[in-house]
Structure formats: C-alpha cells, structure tokens
Symmetry: C2
Subunit: 217 residues, 2 copies
C-alpha cells in the first residue's frame, strides 16, 4: 500500500458512480481506476485494473454484489471489498461478511467517512457503519447472557461430570460416553443422574442445550 489506493466503483446507477468518482478522486491518496455497472463487469474490471479496494453495491442485475464479492475474494490477490448499500438487513450483512467483505457501509455515510473507510480497509482494518456495529454488539451481548448463565450452572459440576455433559452435548449415547471416557455404562448413568439433579433438569436433551449455550463444542 505504498502509494495511491486504487479503487473500483461497482453500482448499477451511473449517477451514483459519477458522484462517488468525483468525490473520491478529489481526495488525497485515492484514485478511481475503473467503474462497473454489475457484478460481472466488476470481476472483469478487477482482473483488468487490479484495484486495492472495491466499493460494491448489492442490488445489481446479472451478478449481484454478494456473489461478486465472493468471487473476487476467491482470487489469487483479492482486493478488499467494502459493501455500500441502502439496505442493512441481517441477511445482507451476514451474507456480505461471509462472502469476505472487509466493510459494510450504509449509503447515508458521509463522503469524508467513505474516504476514511477506504483508507482503513486498504490498511487491513475492518469497517462497519455505526448501525451495523451496534447490531453486532447487541447480538454478541445477548448471546453472552445465555453463555454466562450456562457457565454458572455448569460450574456446579465436578470435572468428570463436566466431561460427561460435554459428550452429551455432542449427541453421544451413554454407551458411547462409556467407551470415550473409559468407564462403565453404569458410571456414566450415575454421572448423568447427578448432573440432572444438580442442574434441576429432566433429561439429557436439556443438558445438551445448556452445555451448548456454555460454548462447549
């Protein structure tokens, strides 16, 4: 990233491309090397111009932005991709991130912030619009709640019981567990019974769910 950051604009709206292009070319350290009107063009343009960063819209004819992103990221020396869209549905965000996008910006992002985002992403940092960040934080915190409740409950178990609980959370039967942990089936049952009473549960399925929430793979 020694010199200028090479940017490719992908949006099916020519006016949007024109606006972004004008705005970005006026910024220091950034040059727009190409534009594309759909995902297919984005791929050929990437091969032709080797951009550092791709600004990618999602809703486009022929090949959509998600698919294009996935294909670009599968390349040998992939560009960083910033998804720039109006719609921040969970669907869109998750798919974009899974496809390998380094950033997800809403179209209400101000020009200077877009410039900054491009710079950051080119440096290897991820970038999310505040609303998206908030969403991820809330989601994480919600899970953390279940996680800690589960953890606290499992803390009452002895080490051996813990192992048994983990095996149950993998869907193993008592016989399986006996073999895995090298003990008698009767011992496994003793542990299972103990776990159930300690945690106030009714059956092994509930053990599995609790252990799963506690993050026991």
């Amino acid at each position: 990233m020694a010199g200028v950051i090479r940017v490719l604009l992908v949006d099916d709206d020519a006016l949007v491309r024109a606006g972004l292009s004008m705005m970005l070319d006026g910024a220091a350290g950034i040059t727009v090397v190409a534009e594309a009107a759909d995902g297919q063009e984005a791929i050929t343009a990437t091969d032709a111009h080797a951009p550092d960063v791709v600004l990618m819209d999602l809703r486009m004819p022929r090949v959509d932005g998600i698919t294009a992103t996935r294909r670009l990221r599968a390349r040998a020396r992939p560009p960083e991709v910033i998804v720039l869209t109006t719609f921040d549905t969970d669907e869109n965000v998750l798919h974009a991130l899974r496809a390998g996008a380094a950033g997800f910006l809403l179209k209400d992002t101000s020009p200077p912030q877009i410039v900054e985002a491009i710079t950051r992403v080119a440096a290897g940092d991820p970038i999310l619009s505040p609303r998206i960040t908030r969403r991820l934080m809330d989601r994480t915190v919600a899970q953390a709640g279940a996680y800690e409740r589960a953890r606290a409950a499992l803390a009452a178990l002895t080490p051996r019981e813990h192992e048994v609980a983990l095996a149950i959370a993998r869907g193993r039967t008592n016989a399986d567990i006996a073999a895995d942990l090298v003990m008698g089936i009767t011992t496994v049952k003793a542990h299972v019974s103990s776990i159930l009473t300690k945690l106030g549960l009714d059956n092994r399925t509930q053990i599995a769910l609790l252990a799963h929430d506690a993050g026991l793979t």
Copy 2:
C-alpha cells in the same frame, strides 16, 4: 451535545491520565472535567461533574472498570463509557459490552483516533478498535455458518415435523409434545423417526442441537 464534550478520565496510573489529559485538552470540542484513579472515584466524580463521556481503564484497585461501568450506566442520565485497555481478552470485551460500554479501545490507539472516538460516542455511535471489530465479525460469520447449515437441513422437514423438532429443541418428551401439539404419542414418534432419517441423525438430542443452531427458540 450542543457545546464542548465533557470527559472524565479513569485510570490508576497518574502518568497515563496526565498524557491523556494533555492530549485531549489540546483537541477542539473536548474538555477534561475530572480524573479518577479507580472505579469508586469514577462514580463520585461522575456525580460531581456530570461528564458526557468516560474513558475507563479496566484493571484498577477497589472497584474495577467493569463494575464501575455497570454502576455508571445504571444512573439516571448515564455518561457514555469508552473502555480503554491493553488487554482485549474475550472476557474483557464481553463483560464491558454487557456492562453498557459504548466503545472498547486498545491502548495502542493513536491520540487523534481517541479524540474521534470520543466525538462519535458522544454522538451516540458505538466505537470498537479494529481488532475487536474483526473479532465480532469473525464470531458472527462463524455462527452464521452453523445457522445456515442447520436451516438448510431443517428445510427438508414438513411443517408438522418442524413443530416437533422445535419442541424437541426445548427438551420436551414425546408425551409432552403429544399434549402440546394435540396428537397421539404414536404420531409424535412417527414424526421423530421421520426427522431422524431425513436429517441422518441418531437421537433426539442431535435434533435439539441442530434446531438450536437454526435459531429455533
């Protein structure tokens, strides 16, 4: 946020406070109204000076940063809290976010970025260091993977089977399910058997785990 952003610095190291104070007071739109050396002082200082934003260290004597953050956020007109620490363990991040922190920055963050973070947080936006953002993204993407695999598998089920699978994912027995869904126990068993063969599973616990991954509450 009409005028200047009022900031409270909380860190047990006087040198760190001095450095931050000097750096922040030189910035436009920010004034450091108080400093505190531990969580207890942070709370009294907040009551005395009503800061807009609190820069909070985690490792401190008496009351730690997480606890202090939780208490501050429980107040009537709570300040926004940015946790500023050297250690970005999952533990720390999750606890901070749960406690109500609006931001989590590592101490390698550059002064101008800290200034910007304070401004953003004061405006109601969340702020995370790139490393933390990346962590949250990876975590979300990983879950999304399991989610979609589970969803795809469950798509093979009929509506009624779907309901049964959901009940199993709540740890219900066949008899329970029969009562819940108003059908014979034998019918429940028929559905369970069908689910197991369709999904290639061995027992109801595995159904529960799969359905859980698919987000079926």
